[in-house]
């Protein structure tokens, strides 16, 4: 381990791509100062008790980030109105399971005859887009259009030049497509969220588009990363991979532990702003200051989780922050859990003798939605 910089540099080091594969030693360093003032004037909070307190603190506004007009970037009452409406039209419980199994089975079937696969490109990437299109009510024949849109929009977070224009173009195309679909649903209702919201009295098309876009974006890369991080973690723990192969029910606690150990959203950098002076762990966060909540650091806080750097699906009382908390608790948590449970259980069951080809694998640039860009795996076949 190289020498750590001053505490104020820690956030910079965490954002530095060189540390993407393993930021956890930096998080441990960060937790030594539970509330740290960063050079840009924002306050970085990294310990479990302090993060959970701020998540549920009504003196913190969530309007600082880019929510694209959707409820993720709103405070109540607007947040409550839109989220509640979306909740009542978003089917994400047991009934979706057969559909998830069908999609995963199809994607793994396509690996037949190959000796090398990429967990990201071959499964983790196409899978959540197919699932969310179904939930939104996008007709099957239009689903292929969503894959490049989702990919392009997500690269908006990529700092390299030229990506922004592509992202903006993809987003306006997708918005236009969804607006048209919503207008059709207003005349002729169909299945799914978009049609359900279109039938709600006083629900503006732009609000429905914003909700649809949110669910696509927020439900996409997070799930991709959770699956890729999950497979990576399992390949690093062959005993657990073997256990999961023999006991698909292990997927339930395993995914919870994964959400703690490798959370797909590592930190929330811009969204939260103090509406008043807030005292946290002896430090006053002044009114107007931005608050950075480092969920991945809180998830490994030894004051909350015994032996926090150990991956242990048998862990009891695992109240992780992998889905955030409070009113902005992950909207699609129930769906995400099932998506990843099904994917990991099926990969464990069907891949013959999977081996990691690159450890650590190449990571994406993004420090917030952190995960492998590719996860090349060698296999002897598919069962």
């Amino acid at each position: 381990m190289t020498a750590m910089g001053t505490p104020a540099d820690l956030l910079g080091q965490i954002l530095d791509y060189a540390n993407r594969a393993n930021p956890y030693p930096l998080y441990a360093e960060l937790r030594k100062t539970p509330v740290l003032r960063a050079p840009n004037g924002s306050y970085v909070v990294s310990t479990y008790r302090e993060v959970t307190a701020l998540i549920r603190d009504p003196r913190v506004s969530n309007t600082g980030g880019a929510g694209g007009g959707s409820f993720i970037g709103m405070d109540p009452p607007g947040h409550d109105r839109l989220r509640r409406a979306a909740t009542s039209h978003f089917d994400q419980y047991d009934t979706v399971r057969p559909e998830l199994e069908r999609i995963v089975t199809g994607l793994i079937d396509q690996m037949h005859g190959r000796r090398q696969i990429d967990i990201v490109d071959d499964l983790a990437y196409p899978y959540p887009v197919a699932v969310i299109c179904e939930r939104l009510g996008v007709p099957d024949e239009d689903e292929p259009r969503f894959h490049p849109w989702a990919e392009a929009i997500i690269t908006r977070l990529d700092p390299r030049p030229g990506q922004r224009d592509t992202a903006a173009r993809a987003q306006s195309e997708m918005d236009e497509y969804m607006s048209g679909l919503i207008e059709r649903f207003r005349a002729d209702p169909g299945p799914g969220l978009l049609s359900g919201l279109a039938a709600e009295e006083g629900m503006a098309t732009e609000d429905i588009v914003a909700t649809g876009r949110l669910l696509l974006i927020a439900g996409h890369e997070t799930t991709v990363n959770l699956i890729a991080n999950g497979m990576l973690t399992l390949l690093r723990h062959p005993d657990l991979l073997a256990r999961l192969r023999g006991d698909a029910d292990l997927a339930v606690p395993l995914v919870e532990e994964l959400l703690r150990y490798e959370p797909p959203v590592q930190l929330l950098a811009r969204a939260n702003v103090a509406l008043d002076d807030i005292e946290v762990a002896g430090t006053t966060i002044p009114e107007g200051a931005g608050i950075v909540l480092v969920l991945a650091a809180a998830n490994r806080d030894p004051d909350r989780f015994a032996d926090p750097d150990r991956f242990d699906p048998d862990r009891q009382d695992n109240q992780h922050l992998g889905f955030f908390g409070g009113i902005h608790y992950c909207f699609g948590a129930a769906l995400a859990r099932q998506e990843v449970q099904v994917a990991l259980a099926e990969l464990a069951r069907r891949l013959e003798n999977p081996r990691l080809l690159q450890d650590p694998p190449p990571y994406r640039q993004n420090p917030t939605l952190r995960g492998p860009r590719h996860l090349p795996v060698q296999i002897d076949g598919v069962r």
């Binding site: 959970t52 307190a53 549920r56 603190d57 009504p58 003196r59 913190v60 506004s61 969530n62 405070d75 109540p76 009452p77 409550d80 509406l275 008043d276 009114e287 409070g326 009113i327 608790y329």
Partner: protein, 461 residues
């Protein structure tokens, strides 16, 4: 064996009277603490411990089976179960609990967790009519389900506290006509005050409940076959009803302790902050503990007033403290400092509360809008925040619990999300505690003025 060793972690005999939530959780906690002696649980109901909150909600609606509310067990619990037999006396000198069967159960340490029962309709003959019910136990729920399934012309709910309101809500979900009669000015007035209760008025009315506040039921009348047919109200009106659910709160199960020498009575079993029961002189005992609905204990955050809380979380957490203290030496004992919480679901709204709202005199809405039925209201007592209630805003509760623990100033001065336009505290309008409701009173009988007669009704235990 020396006196102090009788119920150490290593051994001795512990008897728990009361085999519901508090009794079960205490038993589990005793084992988790390393207690290896004999453990006996005595329960008056013939069933293994089950969860009561679903009884007035999912079970009443038929969405969950009464049998599916059995409480999950933390682990295999080595214990002797004496179910279906109530305890009927306690002999502190001989250290024995006597069961209704006459059997004596000896103990070294005793936990009293006998809880409460539904307060029955005061007129025994009327209470015995078919169609007059209470709701407290699994059997009660099964009986009410049968009555509701028979398609009554109208259901009368007497009392609009949490249980009564949830029953009315379930009746409306089942599309049954329902009248709720509440003596106070609003539903939930005793727990939340009439200001917040006025929101509940709207909830009832929007869901088609015929709500009558400021009115009492004076009599229930049956037909020749003994089935309820009519109710008489003190505003002179009558209601044709086939079912009446009496939801007038609860009575604490302390009668079996009469003559025991313990400080127990209608208000509960008094204990210290470590769950040790006081004797009738106010001297603390060392081998008798209490937990759950039946226990009254002093709480430092609420002026050391003795609180008796009929909340799920109180039963769980107090049982754990009691169990710990039962097998710990004086220096290892813990105080019970839990800030009360409770929840209710009715008319599609989740109501959650923390602290003791009724300890406050003033109330202020800090988030949301009462008109939209989604808000946070805080209660203040002498400049301190002592309670909070949320309607569909329960995710904020942890923040307000900390405010109460910290004795934060009231009214609050901070800026927060979703602030209402007007932020001024108003009197919370709790029913005046000086008006006796449980003391002796005079009751009118007869329905027409010519038949009127008056009788003294003594105070109920």
């Amino acid at each position: 064996m020396t006196g102090t060793d009788h119920a150490s972690r290593a051994g001795g005999r512990v008897v728990i009277v009361g085999a519901s939530l508090a009794g079960l959780r205490a038993a589990e906690a005793l084992r988790a603490e390393g207690f290896t002696g004999t453990l006996t649980l005595v329960g008056d109901e013939p069933y293994e411990p089950y969860d009561r909150p679903p009884l007035s909600k999912q079970v009443l609606l038929g969405r969950a089976d009464a049998n599916s509310t059995m409480l999950p067990r933390a682990a295999a619990l080595e214990a002797e179960w004496r179910l279906g037999v109530p305890a009927d006396a306690l002999d502190l000198t001989a250290k024995q609990v006597r069961l209704a069967s006459g059997e004596q159960v000896p103990f070294d340490r005793l936990l009293i967790a006998t809880g409460t029962r539904a307060r029955p309709w005061p007129n025994a003959a009327e209470a015995a009519l078919d169609g007059v019910l209470v709701l407290r136990t699994s059997d009660d729920t099964a009986a009410l389900r049968r009555e509701l399934a028979a398609g009554p012309r109208r259901v009368l709910v007497v009392g609009a506290g949490f249980t009564g309101s949830e029953i009315a809500s379930a009746c409306r979900e089942l599309r049954l006509p329902v009248t709720v009669v509440e003596r106070a000015a609003t539903p939930l007035a005793g727990a939340l005050g009439a200001v917040v209760g006025s929101v509940a008025i709207q909830l009832h009315r929007e869901h088609g409940v015929d709500l009558r506040c400021g009115v009492s039921v004076t009599a229930l009348e049956g037909d020749s076959s003994g089935h309820l047919r009519r109710a008489y109200l003190d505003d002179g009106t009558t209601l044709d009803v086939d079912v009446a659910v009496v939801a007038l709160g609860s009575l604490r199960n302390t009668e079996w302790l009469r003559g025991s020498g313990l400080g127990a009575g209608p208000r509960g079993v008094a204990c210290d902050a470590g769950c040790r029961v006081f004797d009738m002189y106010g001297i603390v005992t060392d081998d008798v503990f209490a937990a759950g609905d039946v226990a009254r204990y002093p709480h430092p955050v609420f002026g050391f007033e003795f609180l008796a809380l009929e909340h799920w979380s109180n039963a769980v957490e107090q049982a754990q403290v009691a169990a710990h203290n039962m097998v710990s030496s004086q220096s290892e004992r813990r105080p019970y400092l839990h800030v009360p919480t409770f929840w209710s679901f009715q008319f599609g709204v989740g109501i959650k509360s923390v602290g003791v709202p009724s300890y406050g005199e003033e109330v202020i809405v800090t988030q949301g809008s009462a008109d939209e039925r989604r808000f946070v209201a805080l209660y203040g007592h002498q400049g301190r925040t002592v309670g909070a209630v949320t309607f569909d805003q329960g995710k904020w509760l942890d923040f307000y619990r900390r405010q109460i623990e910290m004795a934060a100033p009231f009214p609050p001065a901070y800026r927060n999300v979703d602030r209402p336009a007007s932020r001024r505290p108003v009197p919370a309008e709790f029913p005046d505690p000086a008006v006796p409701t449980e003391g002796p009173r005079i009751e009118r009988t007869g329905h027409s003025p010519a038949e009127w007669a008056w009788a003294l009704v003594p105070a109920r235990a």
